[in-house]
């Protein structure tokens, strides 16, 4: 049988373990042998194929593409006509809208631009929004007055990089390189005014779904957040003291639900009870509510409306209709449409809500979990921009309409009205740009006011950028002290990374997508609804209340809307799925049968998270060996797997109807799906960790945070960029121990660390508390060497009086020439020059007068200038180099200059390093190579790590990494450590590594026999030594070290300033003071708190106890209140104290000092 297996398998794969699973014992298990062969097909290749098709930031791109191709057209079509309110025959009509090519207007013509150009010259990467308009300007004139204009630019839409509108779309590596773009860059962000902005994925509770929850008092409620194109509302049905009430913002108080039912025409209590359910338990719970309504004397629709009318708020938008009926029609459960005045659909919806509340009341288990991922929707940039655009577009239309009326209102119109100039305003362009650059979404029309929606893309390392693109920002404010939303949800499996979350206040709230997650976009609802009816859904309109909940019939709910019921739910679901697998309906439509609620949920809305899975029939995978061979041969793509029904996307809800086997071998007959690869449950950041499944879980979380601070390569175009701060490693390496994720993401091409030979031993005592000892020779040879580039900029400002800044030739002689050494003759520092602190990098002058009347051009040479040189303030005693100087015109057409100043640093004591296992440490000391331990092979470690780092951290993965790295260097093959990869061959086993080590003459356990470099004697113990990938983190002492003897003081209090940037002092705080008091070091406190801080000499009047002043003529103190000079004493007190006394005096409080002889 072993032979059979081998013949089935591709020889390139390392599936030897399959053979090993066979029992070696002679008495062969006959049952095992006769069982059908479950050939484990290596499905790994699907992952890169998925990423090739979908990419790591595909959710952003898909969402934006959807908006640009469909969303924007829908918005314009919905608001396509601007009519004059004075003469409806005068109109402007938008016929079509499209997004042009990314360009920038210059002198009336649009110049095409590429993203790199925008980054460098602080521009917005945007494309014109072009519309075709038709307009009639003359009213009912017989003349031909209908005009058409094509491709009118109504604004500029910032373009997401790599989206279908971007110039980078579909470009290959060479073409990208020509455009100055890194091929590994994922795109998915915007370039706004030269900065890269990411619109974070926003996590929200599902819209238009019934959610059963309990409030603080333990009352059960059912809430629906309704959201349609034009209305948003939140409806809550609450059960309080056994009675049901409705909470709606438009009503001033809670309203008995039966009154609402009656107001909607459901006058018969019996029908309500029937609709909720015939079960006597339901009617029993409902009874108090019915009684309450009856007690109020409300029996008819008319009575109910009369009761409701005064409670409906007047603020309701459509002022033309007053009363409760429009509120019930438009705002109450806004997602349920009212057709021809029939409230029946709404009544049934309420009944279903009631039924679920009662279910929850009778059985607490049926409560919904708000943290369940299936109840969540991810809002992506496309949706957000679409809202923003709609708002701006409508505002623009309003403005045009106003202008139109204004012109039409004029009695004599000299010229023909041309709408084009009003359409071409800047309001859309500016609105989009401002919102994206500040991240403050303030869309009044949709009652949205959210801050911090966009962030500057973290370009600290390649992984930081990738991690940023997959980040999900929470809906909750971070201050809430609840553990529920922060906890790891089982439903996150495969969708959201279980490791990657920050520590501290946002812990568990900020999440990251897993590797294979896809976020859906909206899909056309109409065809799907009619399909449901075709498949035997009985229309709601035709059902009586009684029939609604007959046993064995399931309600069919489509995107939160009740369509009707179906008698054979499983059959219905199976048919839907079959159609989906056949590609007849969208691949992201989900069908989920909820047995408990007797409902079938069909969802096609946007924002659901889903992931691909292999379909299995009765536990047998549909993907066979030949499929994978075809994939490798390039005959198949990921999409053809989808089309052929081998793979499908499941969202979180539908996963509940599936039984998913982790591996093919574990599948039973009930299994419906098989995971593609288990390591895809992790995200990008956690994917870098080798053997994460051997680590203690928080360590992986720590590494996810630290991987983003590691220095390395940022992108292929890193040296063409002009970032404000750039950290690069001089010799970055590819990790010896890789994972499949590393290869997929491109970390092997843009690494952020070096493979250091680490000896795990104690050395010198400078290695306590996670400090590491480093080998000086390794540092000499370039280990941990990094380049820090900082940007400085200067603008030659133009002023309102037509004057302008200017750059002067540097002084070559005389005072100040020393600091102008590095300037070229044009007054700008030249690249390649060594720049030290206080050096001038631009010899700029500004006009003395910049305001007031315009200076005629002839006068310009005669105006006065004052110097505004810019001096370099870098680390003292270090030499930096001017790396690059870039000149460009900014948006206001001022000449701007960017300087990039480079500093190469070698590691020093105090610099922070970390392995990939959340084990950070600072460099404790640097020791000569000859003092370092060595093996008889001559191997000498690059750094020494204290073994105390291991027991409490339990980072076994790090030990395996060392072993694998050692095996890797000695046999010349990169070893793998993908998460959960051992069974599928994507992680090497410890046994295999040990075997290689033994073959290469090392000990199987990775320990070496070392000699002390100081004495030459053998060390007492064998030392665990081998290569571990170490990251240099951005925290370096040079940027942090700070001391002050004397320095600047704050003007107000005369106390020393605070903070390193202001050369501030180190504060002796309250707790430090308490210690000194406890110890009794009174003079030390006196010295710290006054002498070294803000001592001040005051004149105190012994008579009145107030502060006086010192008269320098009379050489004596005078009390200003007593007007006397005797009885004055001189004393010292903190200036802050004097300030306090004076401030109190200004508030009419008289603090008097009573002096006694000391």
């Amino acid at each position: 049988m072993g032979e059979k297996k081998d013949s089935l398998e591709d020889p390139t794969k390392q599936n030897q373990h399959v053979g090993k699973q066979l029992p070696d014992n002679p008495d062969i298990d006959m049952q095992f042998l006769s069982a059908p062969i479950k050939s484990a097909v290596d499905k790994y290749q699907l992952v890169p194929e998925f990423l090739k098709v979908r990419g790591l930031v595909k959710q952003h791109l898909d969402s934006f593409n959807y908006f640009v191709n469909i969303g924007i057209k829908k918005i314009v079509r919905a608001n396509d006509r601007i009519e004059s309110s004075l003469d409806p025959s005068v109109y402007v009509r938008f016929k079509n809208v499209r997004i042009g090519k990314p360009s920038v207007p210059s002198d009336g013509v649009d110049d095409e631009i590429c993203p790199q150009f925008c980054r460098l010259s602080d521009m917005t990467y945007a494309a014109p929004i072009l519309v075709n308009v038709e307009y009639n300007t003359q009213g009912n004139n017989p003349q031909k007055t209908r005009f058409e204009k094509n491709d009118v630019t109504i604004g500029r839409m910032p373009i997401m990089l790599r989206s279908c509108c971007c110039v980078l779309y579909g470009k290959d590596e060479a073409e990208l390189a020509r455009l100055g773009e890194c091929p590994l860059d994922p795109g998915g962000y915007f370039v706004i005014k030269g900065t890269e902005k990411v619109m974070l994925i926003q996590e929200q509770l599902s819209k238009n779904r019934i959610i059963i929850d309990s409030d603080k008092k333990g009352n059960i409620n059912a809430s629906v957040t309704s959201s349609t194109e034009d209305r948003k509302s939140k409806t809550v049905i609450l059960m309080e003291k056994g009675k049901m009430y409705l909470h709606l913002n438009m009503f001033s108080e809670k309203i008995p639900i039966m009154v609402v039912m009656k107001a909607m025409g459901m006058e018969s209590d019996q029908e309500v009870v029937q609709m909720v359910g015939r079960d006597p338990r339901y009617s029993a719970v409902l009874l108090p509510s019915i009684e309450e309504c009856a007690n109020k004397g409300i029996f008819t629709k008319q009575q109910a409306l009369e009761y409701l009318d005064p409670k409906a708020k007047r603020t309701y938008a459509s002022a033309s209709e007053k009363g409760a009926l429009p509120v019930l029609r438009d705002m109450f459960l806004a997602n349920v449409p009212v057709r021809q005045g029939s409230f029946r659909a709404k009544c049934i919806y309420v009944a279903v809500m009631l039924r679920r509340v009662i279910d929850a009341f009778l059985n607490k288990d049926t409560m919904d979990d708000k943290d369940y991922v299936g109840n969540k929707r991810l809002e992506l940039s496309g949706q957000l921009i679409s809202l923003l655009f709609e708002d701006l577009f409508k505002t623009m239309i309003d403005n045009v309409k106003k202008k139109m009326d204004e012109i039409m209102g004029k009695p004599s119109r000299s010229s023909r009205f041309d709408p084009a100039p009003y359409l071409c305003g800047d309001s859309i362009t500016n609105g989009l740009e401002r919102t994206l650059s500040t991240g403050n979404f303030n869309v009044k029309r949709f009652r949205m006011d959210r801050k911090g929606m966009t962030q500057v893309l973290a370009r600290l390392s390649f992984i930081a950028a990738m991690g940023h693109m997959t980040r999900i920002s929470p809906q909750f404010e971070k201050s809430r002290k609840v553990s529920g939303p922060r906890a790891l949800q089982p439903s996150q499996w495969g969708m959201l990374c279980p490791c990657d979350t920050p520590e501290g206040e946002a812990c568990g709230l900020v999440k990251n997508l897993a590797l294979m997650t896809h976020v859906t976009t909206d899909e056309e609802e109409g065809p799907l609804i009619s399909l449901c009816y075709y498949l035997g859904v009985e229309d709601l309109e035709l059902l009586s209340g009684e029939e609604l909940h007959t046993p064995n019939s399931f309600l069919v709910i489509f995107n939160g809307l009740i369509l009707g019921k179906h008698r054979r739910p499983q059959h219905f679901a199976a048919t839907m799925r079959k159609l989906r697998r056949a590609g007849k309906i969208g691949e992201f439509v989900s069908v989920y049968v909820n047995e408990k609620q007797c409902c079938v949920y069909v969802a096609s809305d946007g924002g659901r998270v889903c992931r691909p899975l292999v379909i299995a029939d009765k536990g047998i995978s549909r993907i066979k060996e030949h499929h994978m061979k075809e994939l490798l041969a390039g005959v198949r793509t990921f999409d053809s797997f989808l089309q052929d029904g081998l793979i499908e996307y499941l969202d979180v809800n539908e996963e509940n109807n599936a039984l998913i086997a982790l591996y093919e071998g574990e599948a039973t007959t009930e299994t419906t799906h098989i995971e593609i690869e288990p390591f895809t449950i992790l995200g990008v950041c956690a994917g870098l960790i080798p053997f994460p499944h051997h680590n203690q879980s928080p360590r992986n979380t720590y590494q996810c945070a630290m991987g983003k601070q590691a220095m390395g390569n940022i992108a292929y175009n890193q040296l063409r960029r002009m970032d404000t701060l750039l950290y690069l490693l001089v010799y970055p390496q590819r990790p010896l121990l890789t994972t499949k994720t590393i290869e997929l993401v491109g970390y092997d091409k843009l690494g952020a660390g070096q493979n250091a030979t680490v000896a795990v031993m104690s050395y010198s005592g400078y290695d306590i508390e996670d400090a590491i000892v480093m080998n000086k020779s390794s540092l000499d040879r370039g280990f941990g060497r990094c380049i820090v580039m900082k940007r400085y900029s200067a603008v030659l400002q133009k002023y309102e009086n037509d004057t302008q800044d200017r750059i002067l030739r540097p002084d070559r002689k005389g005072y100040g020439a020393k600091h102008m050494r590095i300037l070229d003759d044009d007054g700008i520092a030249s690249p390649g020059e060594i720049i030290s602190p206080q050096d001038i990098y631009i010899n700029k002058q500004s006009p003395a007068v910049t305001r007031g009347t315009r200076v005629p051009p002839s006068e310009l040479p005669n105006i006065g200038y004052k110097s505004s040189k810019q001096t370099f303030k870098g680390p003292e005693g270090e030499s930096c180099v001017v790396d690059r100087v870039a000149l460009y015109n900014d948006r206001h057409n001022n000449l701007s200059i960017k300087f990039l100043i480079r500093h190469t640093r070698r590691p020093e004591v105090g610099d922070k390093f970390s392995s990939r296992h959340g084990q950070k440490g600072v460099c404790g000391t640097i020791i000569q190579q000859e003092d370092f331990p060595f093996s008889e092979r001559g191997i000498c470690p690059d750094l020494i790590m204290n073994p105390h780092g291991f027991p409490s951290r339990m980072t076994v993965g790090k030990m395996i990494e060392l072993l694998g790295g050692k095996a890797g260097v000695s046999c010349g093959r990169f070893h793998y450590g993908s998460a959960f990869g051992e069974p599928s061959g994507h992680a090497d086993t410890v046994e295999a590594m040990s075997e290689i080590l033994v073959n290469k003459g090392f000990s199987y356990n990775g320990k070496d026999f070392l000699y002390s470099g100081i004495t030459g004697c053998p060390l007492q113990a064998y030392i665990f030594m081998g290569p571990i990938y170490y990251q240099k983190l951005k925290h370096m002492v040079l940027d942090k070290m700070h001391a002050r003897a004397d320095g600047p003081r704050v003007l107000l209090t005369r106390q020393p300033t605070e903070g390193r940037a202001r050369n501030g002092g180190l504060r002796v705080g309250e707790m430090e003071r308490d210690c000194l008091i406890a110890y009794g070091a009174s003079m030390l406190i006196f010295e710290r708190l006054m002498i070294s801080s803000d001592p001040f000499e005051v004149q105190v009047c012994r008579i009145c106890g107030l502060l006086g002043y010192y008269n320098h003529h009379l050489k004596t103190g005078i009390c200003s209140s007593c007007k006397k000079r005797d009885g004055m004493s001189t004393m010292k007190l903190p200036y802050a104290c004097k300030l306090l006394i004076q401030e109190l005096q200004s508030m009419n409080i008289v603090p008097r000092l009573k002096l006694a002889e000391a």
Binding site: Q929, E936, G938, D1008, P1018
Partner: protein, 317 residues
């Protein structure tokens, strides 16, 4: 030592293998301190010449100036003359600014890529002002015929690199670029004694598994006598595996392994700056000079303070 009157010993050196860049020798009849001193001096104190100052005229390559300067520094230069050169810090001829023939060597590099093919700038492009100090010959072990040179930077069309570099004498203690040693290591010579009687109690299979337990091939089975023999004692890495194995087999004392405290096997590999054999000789020379410096320090009180008993011993002989 009889009487402890004299610490003097006469270490013996036996050279086993000698190539230009590698020497393997035995050092006997001395102790770890001497062996280690020799090792340390070889790594840290044998002087070589390396590029120390780089003046860049034109650099339009992708690597920045410091980057290239660092790479240039690490290129080994032939330094046979280094022992006789002066450190530029105590060179009288040039006031220590490192511009004279006694303490420095000037290099020039001019490279410009004019074709569409990538141009590799290598150590061969460095032109020395002194023919005795040149970048070391470097050839690919797979293709020994061709001299490739050490790559400094790669240029594409239109990029240019022009610089002047000054090489100075220095020691590995100051910077690893001056260290002539690639690998200097030693091991204690192991003494392996097999307990033949006990060994005979093992079956052939047991013998095989016991031999296999050592990661290095120290033992083997004599094909004729079927006896376990020590084939290569020096491959033994003091890993105790065989001893543990013997214990596990219940045959404790099957083999006794001891490190000979007074004999060492050295492996010295040089970077190519000086020949490996010369490296050893230079190291001995420097070690001698250092000892002389101790012995010749006239101020006995100071020497006593510094060296205590050792100082008195040195003076007393």
């Amino acid at each position: 030592m009889d009487g402890g009157m004299s610490y003097q010993r006469f270490p013996k050196v036996k050279i086993r293998e000698m190539k230009d860049d590698m020497v393997k020798f035995e050092l006997r009849e001395t102790d770890a301190s001497v062996a280690n001193a020799l090792r340390r001096v070889m790594i840290a104190e044998v002087p070589t010449v390396a590029i120390d100052l780089v003046e860049i005229e034109v650099n339009s390559s992708v690597l920045n100036d410091e980057f290239i300067a660092h790479r240039l520094g690490l290129i080994p230069l032939t330094s046979d003359r280094a022992m006789s050169m002066r450190f530029s810090r105590d060179c009288d001829a040039c006031d220590g600014d490192g511009q004279c023939e006694f303490c420095s060597v000037e290099f020039h590099l001019r490279a410009k890529c004019l074709t569409d093919q990538t141009l590799d700038v290598t150590s061969k492009d460095l032109y020395s002002s002194d023919h005795t100090v040149v970048p070391v010959e470097f050839s690919d072990p797979n293709d020994p015929g061709e001299q490739r040179g050490i790559i400094i930077v790669k240029l594409r069309r239109g990029q240019e690199l022009r610089l002047r570099a000054i090489a100075r004498k220095g020691i590995g203690k100051d910077h690893a670029k001056w260290s002539p040693a690639a690998t200097v290591t030693f091991m204690y010579e192991p003494m392996i004694r097999i307990n033949e009687d006990l060994m005979d109690t093992l079956s052939l299979e047991e013998k095989r598994t016991w031999i296999e337990s050592s990661p290095t091939k120290v033992f083997d089975l004599d094909p004729v006598t079927q006896q376990v023999v020590v084939v290569e004692p020096e491959l033994y890495t003091y890993d105790d595996e065989v001893i543990k194995k013997a214990d596990a087999m219940g045959k404790s004392g099957l083999v006794e392994i001891e490190a000979k405290e007074d004999s060492f096997i050295f492996t010295v590999e040089s970077t190519g700056a000086i020949k490996a054999s010369q490296l050893v000789l230079n190291a001995i020379e420097i070690l001698k000079q250092k000892l002389d410096a101790v012995r010749l320090s006239d101020d006995t009180v100071e020497a006593d303070d510094q060296f205590g008993e050792l100082g008195a011993h040195l003076r007393g002989g």
